[in-house]
């Protein structure tokens, strides 16, 4: 069986500056792969390149065996990739319901099916159900993050990509988001998680891929990482 998401030899540029140098990764169904690396290593760019927001100049992005790297960016989400950008990037002036509606519109499912999906997302984040008609910019940080994840789940993704979802949140919120990510894994979603902090990664990740200077380096099982401090020290600079 091929991996749900397989990225091979991705090159990406901001203007003339090359940010990704042949980055490769693989995520399976029901697996959480975490990209770990220093600030500016290219983790966020990797996610943007997969979404087509930073068009890759070389390499392939295979989603369930089909190359999606040549699709226009607005068609990539339709293939089933839910994206939770760094800093949440909600449509702040729009209400909670409208933000979720934008996620629901992606797949163009019939009205009844959309109602069912929305119900499921609101079950995961009951606090959003109470605030459907509130402007999303007025939510608390944790609620905004829940909405950003909820919006991505509204398109019933086969692959879920989260960029530093726990940044700046309270421990209780971090716990809740962790639970949702684990629930998605249990449903067979391939999860690609970007983090900077090791302690946020180890409890959820199955495998960890270290990213350095836009290149993918060592890839190890998260369970092995507890003993192997050398890798952490080299790529993230913590002696933990």
């Amino acid at each position: 069986m091929t991996a749900m998401l397989k990225v091979e030899g991705l090159d990406a540029f901001y203007g003339k500056v090359q940010v990704l140098h042949g980055l490769s990764l693989e995520v399976d169904r029901g697996e959480i792969l975490c990209l770990l690396g220093r600030n500016g290593a290219g983790k966020t760019t990797a996610l943007k390149a997969i979404m087509g927001l930073v068009p890759p100049r070389a390499g392939a992005v295979m989603l369930d065996g089909v190359d999606i790297s040549l699709l226009p960016p607005e068609d990539i989400a339709k293939e089933g990739i839910g994206y939770v950008p760094q800093g949440r990037r909600l449509f702040a002036e729009l209400t909670v319901a409208e933000n979720l509606e934008i996620g629901l519109m992606v797949r163009g499912a019939p009205r009844r099916a959309r109602g069912r999906v929305l119900e499921r997302v609101l079950d995961l984040f009951p606090v959003l159900a109470e605030r459907l008609h509130q402007r999303s910019g007025t939510l608390s940080g944790g609620e905004q993050q829940m909405l950003a994840i909820g919006r991505a789940l509204c398109l019933e993704p086969a692959v879920l990509m989260l960029d530093e979802p726990t940044e700046g949140l309270m421990p209780a919120m971090i716990q809740r988001i962790r639970e949702v990510v684990l629930a998605m894994r249990a449903e067979g979603v391939a999860v690609l998680l970007v983090e900077q902090r090791v302690e946020a990664v180890l409890p959820v990740a199955d495998r960890v891929l270290f990213v350095e200077n836009g290149r993918s380096r060592d890839c190890v099982a998260a369970s092995d990482l507890g003993e192997d401090h050398a890798l952490l020290h080299r790529y993230v600079g913590v002696g933990a």
Binding site: L53, E74, A77, K78, R89, F91, L94, M105, L155
Partner: protein, 293 residues
């Protein structure tokens, strides 16, 4: 005539001007809000709308209403197609760069204007009003058509508001306005939204022009004042705020009408421009614009 009735007459004239201005400025505001583009050619789309309205009504015979209704449909349609083509051929290739698009739309202004001059000519030509009745006040009679213009403009603005707030297309437009990159990541075809918004903006100007052309004649230079006043309205109302745009259009249109009747049109423009200066000094984001955080 006593002062009271005179004021009523001036207010009615102001309201007609405000109604058409609101429609035209709404188009400019929409384009600026969603695309962050200053469309200097907006007034020429207005002029194009009026000229095409004259052309359509002169082709269609029979009752004036027949030709007018045809113009209401055909004129915005042609202007919308022309605007979408300009968006595709010019603005998109400039990658919607704020400065480059200003220069490009200045060029577009002259292209449209000179095309109108060389095909339509330098004459001002009238269009017959579709309805011909007078509303008789105790002091004076007033054109029924002008009152209909106010109503038609209000209906069209309501329609724009409903589309923006209650339809999927409107949701896509608002999402694109706030964050085009994230909108793209959620399968919103931002390129098509831009082309559509630019076309709709021009069509609103054309609709305003079709409404005004039975009152003012169609002329190839008629786009200047609406452009200036639309900019004033958009700046006072707050960039990207539709509510502010409509309210500012009412303020500017009414005062323009009243001051023009009592004093002179020139004084009206001077005061409006002065008001912009004061708004920019004390509320740079406009009356309803979001303040930068």
């Amino acid at each position: 005539m006593d002062f009271g009735p005179y004021l009523l007459l001036a207010s009615l004239e102001g309201a007609v001007g405000a109604a058409v201005l609101a429609l035209t400025a709404l188009g400019l505001s929409l384009v600026f809000g969603v695309m962050r583009i200053v469309n200097v050619a907006h007034g020429e789309f207005y002029m194009l709308g009026a000229v095409i309205a004259w052309w359509v009504t002169s082709m269609v015979g029979g009752h004036p209403a027949l030709g007018f209704v045809a113009a209401m449909v055909v004129s915005p349609l042609i202007v919308g197609i022309a605007a979408a083509a300009a968006e595709r051929l010019v603005l998109r290739r400039l990658d919607y760069d704020p400065e480059a698009t200003i220069v490009a739309t200045i060029g577009l202004l002259y292209v449209i204007q000179q095309l109108a001059l060389s095909t339509y000519g330098a004459d001002a030509r009238p269009v017959a009003a579709p309805i011909d009745f007078r509303v008789q006040f105790p002091w004076f009679g007033y054109s029924g058509y002008k009152l209909c213009v106010i109503g038609a403009s209000a209906v069209m603005m309501l329609a724009v508001w409903l589309v923006l707030t209650h339809t999927r297309v409107g949701l896509m437009m608002r999402a694109t306005q706030h964050d085009p990159e994230t909108a793209r990541a959620f399968a919103i075809p931002v390129d098509r939204v831009y082309a559509g918004v630019f076309a709709i903006g021009a069509m609103l100007a054309a609709l305003g022009a079709v409404l005004i052309v039975p009152i003012q004649q169609a002329h190839y230079l008629m786009g200047h004042d609406p452009l200036l006043l639309s900019f004033i309205v958009v700046i006072i109302g707050g960039l990207g705020s539709l509510r502010g745009t409509v309210l500012a259009a009412v303020i500017i249109g009414m005062s323009d009408g009243i001051i023009s009747v009592f004093f002179s049109p020139t004084l009206a423009k001077i005061l409006a421009t002065l008001l912009v200066a004061f708004v920019l000094v004390w509320r740079p984001a406009g009356l309803f614009g979001a303040r930068p955080a």
